[in-house]
């Protein structure tokens, strides 16, 4: 049962999803905060850019990412600093692609959570001597917890299920970029039905558990945060 051909893509996918989720939270939370609180006129344009991956075919995103991460793009320059010729077809490149691709799924629930509690808790925090940075950590983040949990779960799950972008920028390098969705595609192409079944059924169960647990968590947190 512990066939390395099966195990390697599972492990790689979990690694990719974990690293991507952490990066998504670190990048997505300040963006969500800014989108929820800013009154800048170009805020909606930024929101639209963040939401682009919802509409674009993954191949379009993957195509541009391939160019950006390639030897002649900014990704190649950054990769050069670490002795790489390019970031395309690397694990790091996959993380970058996943973060951009899953960003709207993380930003939206966090932004909604920030917007939901309004100005009052932050005003109260200020009258209790908490500066803006203090209030963000001690009031805004705890109050936005249901949104943060939802964002993290969606980001993780969405990264696990990603296919088009990975195929475009990662290819199919075992142990490096050969994640679950690509592996399943490969098994089907080569008529390895048993392996394709195992991984596919596993993902169905995984998706079900993710959605169920998210609903339960939301229900519990929603009840707790009721004033």
């Amino acid at each position: 049962m512990i066939d390395p051909a099966l195990w390697s893509p599972i492990r790689l996918t979990l690694e990719l999803a974990t690293v991507s989720t952490l990066a998504l939270l670190v990048i997505g939370t300040p963006i969500a905060w800014w989108l929820a609180r800013s009154r800048a006129p170009w805020k909606d344009a930024v929101a639209a850019i963040v939401a682009l991956p919802l509409v674009l075919p993954p191949t379009v995103l993957g195509f541009y990412l391939l160019i950006a991460l390639g030897p002649n793009g900014p990704g190649g320059v950054i990769g050069g600093l670490f002795g790489l010729r390019s970031l395309a077809f690397t694990f790091e490149g996959l993380v970058i692609g996943s973060v951009i691709y899953s960003l709207p799924f993380v930003v939206q629930p966090i932004r909604n959570a920030f917007a939901a509690f309004g100005d009052r808790p932050l005003e109260v925090a200020a009258t209790l001597r908490a500066g803006p940075w203090d209030a963000f950590w001690s009031v805004a983040l705890p109050l936005a917890r249901p949104g943060l949990v939802t964002g993290a779960v969606l980001g993780f799950a969405h990264t696990v299920g990603e296919f088009g972008v990975v195929l475009m920028i990662g290819g199919n390098i075992p142990g490096e970029t050969r994640v679950l969705s690509v592996a399943i595609y490969d098994f089907v192409e080569t008529l390895q039905w048993r392996e394709a079944h195992l991984l596919s059924a596993g993902l169905v169960v995984f998706a079900f558990l993710v959605i169920l647990s998210m609903m339960l968590v939301e229900k519990r947190l929603g009840r707790r945060s009721g004033l």
Partner: protein, 371 residues
């Protein structure tokens, strides 16, 4: 805190579609009430004092300048030594009651932390400490909010209609706690309300605000006895607020006798100790006037008085008489017809019949007040 400090506020500007142009100064002691109908701008003034709303002008307390647009000074709200209680308690739902209080105490100086137990006991919230804000009643939440504001060791406490979201019974439950604050904690309060009864009960001085402007300023006695002013916009609320002293209690009839400017006023048994100071609110509609001392009448309180002024309202049937009872003034609501038939005129000696008074135990002007 030095007794001579004054809170001075001068604000002018537009907030949304609303023009505000208000200036007042008040001694930093006791309770200063910002009174006005909803939409008059009083809450905006309070928010500007707290630094939560930005309106052009100047806000200072004694030597401390919190905002002065001419000098480009604007102290951020979290750097102002002010505690604020909002209309809704606005407790942090992710923290317990103790967590909410600790939030304030942690960020205030060590003195505030030492006061934790005293403040919690003062507000009667000790048994609530482990609870979640969601499990509290409206009145309990507001008490915790007051305690949380006090734990910031403020030098000024702002309260924005802290009782208006509560039902009548809950208000009565909280009022005694609020009444004790200025004396027991020595913290001056700026209190926003549109409720005349709260002004009469809590205020030491009043700033009357309407349409974004200051209509009148003065002590509670002064503002209430101004017959040209109808606080709350209706005659039914016209009243005076006066100080009196409990003389003795008549247990057999269940009456308390009060000394009002040298004359005796009888009220239903109050449970107050002899000698204690009370403040009375006497409504104009509860005061009648007679030329002779009436005999055989159920009204208990007949005070000799002198007519000081009569203001007739030609648009209605009513006229109001300002009466002096020694140094104290009463307002009496009469009909214009009665004024004409009795031939009432300033300087005339009359008898004031007082049908009812409401009172509470808070004397005027806390110790050391300069107002």
């Amino acid at each position: 805190m030095s007794g001579g400090d004054r809170l001075s506020v001068a604000l002018s500007g537009r907030v949304g579609g609303f023009a505000l142009d208000a200036a007042f100064a008040a001694p930093v002691s006791g309770v200063t009430v910002l009174f006005g109908p909803s939409g008059s701008g009083k809450t905006t003034i309070l928010r500007a004092i707290a630094g939560l709303a930005r309106i052009g002008g100047r806000v200072a307390m004694g030597p401390e300048i919190w905002q002065d647009d001419e000098r480009g000074t604007f102290v951020k709200p979290h750097r102002r030594p002010i505690g604020t209680v909002f209309q809704e308690a606005s407790l942090f739902p992710h923290l317990s009651v103790r967590g909410n209080l600790d939030f304030a105490a942690k960020r205030a100086g060590p003195r505030a932390r030492e006061e934790f137990d005293a403040i919690v006991a003062l507000l009667g919230i000790t048994p609530l400490l482990p609870r979640s804000p969601a499990a509290l009643s409206g009145g309990e939440r507001q008490r915790v909010a007051v305690g949380r504001a006090l734990l910031t060791a403020p030098r000024l406490l702002l309260m924005d209609e802290p009782l208006s979201a509560l039902d009548r019974a809950t208000r009565q439950e909280i009022l005694p706690y609020l009444e004790r604050l200025p004396e027991e904690r020595g913290i001056p309060i700026v209190y926003v309300t549109h409720d005349v009864a709260e002004v009469a009960r809590l205020g030491d001085r009043v700033v009357v605000i309407d349409g974004g402007r200051v209509q009148a300023t003065g002590s509670v006695e002064e503002v209430f006895e101004d017959v040209d002013l109808h606080l709350g916009g209706e005659r039914a609320e016209d009243s005076v607020v006066v100080g009196a002293q409990v003389v003795r209690t008549d247990a057999a009839f269940g009456m308390t006798r009060l000394d009002l400017a040298g004359q005796i006023l009888s009220v239903p048994f109050s449970g107050l100790a002899d000698g204690s100071e009370v403040r009375l609110r006497i409504r104009a509609r509860d005061v009648s006037v007679a030329l002779d001392r009436p005999k055989a009448i159920s009204v208990r309180n007949v005070l000799s008085a002198t007519v000081e002024r009569i203001v007739a309202d030609p648009d209605t049937a009513f006229a109001e008489a300002l009466l002096s009872v020694g140094p104290v003034r009463l307002r009496a609501q009469l009909t214009r017809e009665a004024v004409a038939e009795l031939g009432l005129a300033p300087g005339q000696d009359v008898f004031a019949l007082v049908k009812s008074v409401s009172f509470d135990q808070r004397p005027f002007a806390p110790p050391g007040a300069s107002g």
